[in-house]
């Protein structure tokens, strides 16, 4: 919890610094404030130790995976409800609702020690996804592994049954009738990304590249490396490092979650905490992104408003149909 306290405190300081009352001279000329100071709630990095998320501020303007999944789930549900109402009784393309773990976004995992203990160097996600991608999860119980195999077999069988059912006259007839169903039409017409695409996406990518080249990042890396070396680990060579190379350690792997990987990951998470690396890093990253935000403030505000509206509608739909 110490980490949480530190992260929260630094995040709060970032915001407080931006919101603190200024001198009369500052008040007289507010345009002197940095782009980050002008809109911290809109573009500062998301650092939420309670929810487990750490992500750049630009992620607010792009559909998150949880709601991407939720929209597709709602589209499927609306159609299935209609098909059954039209009298169709064959196999359906039925999905489970998205796992709440998908709400957790972690840039450069692991972040929190508890995430490191559960997922090692992989980002938080359901066990089925880990196994479905071939990750060797030695920390999973035999029961969990068996349950996954059963779930997978059911999925494959259901997929095959639905593929076959799509060729039946009964399905085709009901499907045609549902094309005009208001609920089906309403959700089929929704594109979560409709307002997210634009030149800012490439510029946010450039911001990320620039942030990781910032001289202050080198200081963070030096502190982090000193910490892991104190714990007996070595930094990864550049060719083995992740996309930024900041926190990569020798021996880390995306292919397995076992005792050794968990041990390495916990050291990484602890060192991030003791050096305050994540808060420092995200503050630098936010500074670069803030300039892009200021440039496209109107479009990005529109994108955020659009997404929040749809997220709310999706959550409401699911609540009313569960």
């Amino acid at each position: 919890m110490q980490k949480r306290a530190v992260a929260s405190a630094i995040a709060a300081l970032l915001l407080l610094g931006a919101c603190a009352p200024g001198s009369s001279a500052e008040d007289a000329d507010k345009d002197q404030r940095s782009p980050l100071d002008k809109a911290p709630a809109q573009i500062a990095a998301i650092i939420d130790p309670d929810g487990g998320t750490v992500a750049p501020g630009s992620s607010r303007f792009i559909p998150d995976f949880y709601h991407t999944f939720l929209l597709d789930y709602v589209k499927r549900t609306a159609e299935n409800v209609c098909l059954e109402r039209e009298g169709y009784r064959g196999a359906l393309d039925q999905w489970d609702a998205p796992d709440p773990l998908y709400k957790v976004a972690v840039t450069q995992p692991p972040w929190l020690p508890e995430q490191a203990e559960r997922f090692a160097f992989l980002p938080p996600q359901p066990l089925a996804d880990l196994l479905g991608n071939g990750v060797i999860v030695q920390t999973a119980s035999a029961e969990q592994a068996t349950s996954y195999e059963k779930h997978r077999a059911e999925r494959v069988a259901a997929s095959e049954a639905f593929a076959e059912a799509q060729g039946t006259a009964e399905y085709k007839s009901a499907k045609a009738a549902c094309a005009t169903d208001p609920d089906v039409k309403r959700w089929e017409g929704v594109d979560l990304s409709a307002k997210s695409s634009g030149p800012w996406l490439a510029e946010f990518q450039d911001d990320m590249a620039s942030a990781f080249q910032d001289p202050q990042m080198r200081a963070i890396k030096n502190d982090f490396v000193a910490c892991i070396e104190g714990e007996g680990l070595e930094p990864a060579s550049p060719s083995d490092a992740s996309f930024d190379g900041l926190y990569a350690v020798k021996g880390q792997s995306l292919a397995k979650i076992d005792e050794q990987q968990v041990r390495l990951a916990v050291v990484v998470a602890d060192c991030k905490e003791s050096t305050e690396a994540v808060a420092r890093e995200m503050a630098i990253w936010s500074r670069y992104e803030a300039a892009t935000y200021a440039k496209y403030e109107r479009e990005l505000t529109e994108a955020r408003t659009y997404l929040e509206g749809l997220y709310g509608e999706l959550d409401d739909y699911v609540a009313s149909h569960s």
Binding site: T53, A55, P56, S58, S59, I62, P63, D64, F65, Y66, T68, F69, D72, W95, P98, Y102, K103, V104, A105, V106, T107, Q108, P123, P124, Q125, P126, A128, D129, L131, G132, N133, G134, V135, R152, R155, V156, S159, E160, D191, S193, A194, S196, S197, L201, A202, Q205, M208, S242, F243, L254, A255
Partner: protein, 143 residues
Amino acid sequence: MKKSRVFSTITALALTVAAGLAVAAPASAADYDCASGGTCFWISTNFTNSSVRITSTKADLTNYDYASGAVSNNTSSISSNQSDCIYSYQYDYYLAPWNGGSGSYIYFLKGQRDPLLSNGGGNGAYNDEDWDNRISSNWFKGC
């Protein structure tokens, strides 16, 4: 999907008919066929030349070799046919960030495909960008 350049079966058939070509016979004979349970990556457009089929994680696609080279940054068309996972995500970084965060990506649902990644590909906020020879990693979600 407004920006989607994903070719559904219906769209593909419609285009084939519109072009005055004979409708391909069984779906199993189509060029874009990808055996159930995986996502297929082709080195050339229109699902031609060498391909690989991925069924489990290979964050670094260079582990999969086309007959004439590595997959990473060398893919021009995709067909997604995974049966146990709903989504197949492709990223332009070796170590992909997931569930948000940073990095660009596109994704395909089962049954979706794209014959020409250079004019955009798949779904998602980045799908109208040039994705030819850009994909570096793949991850399944919703398994």
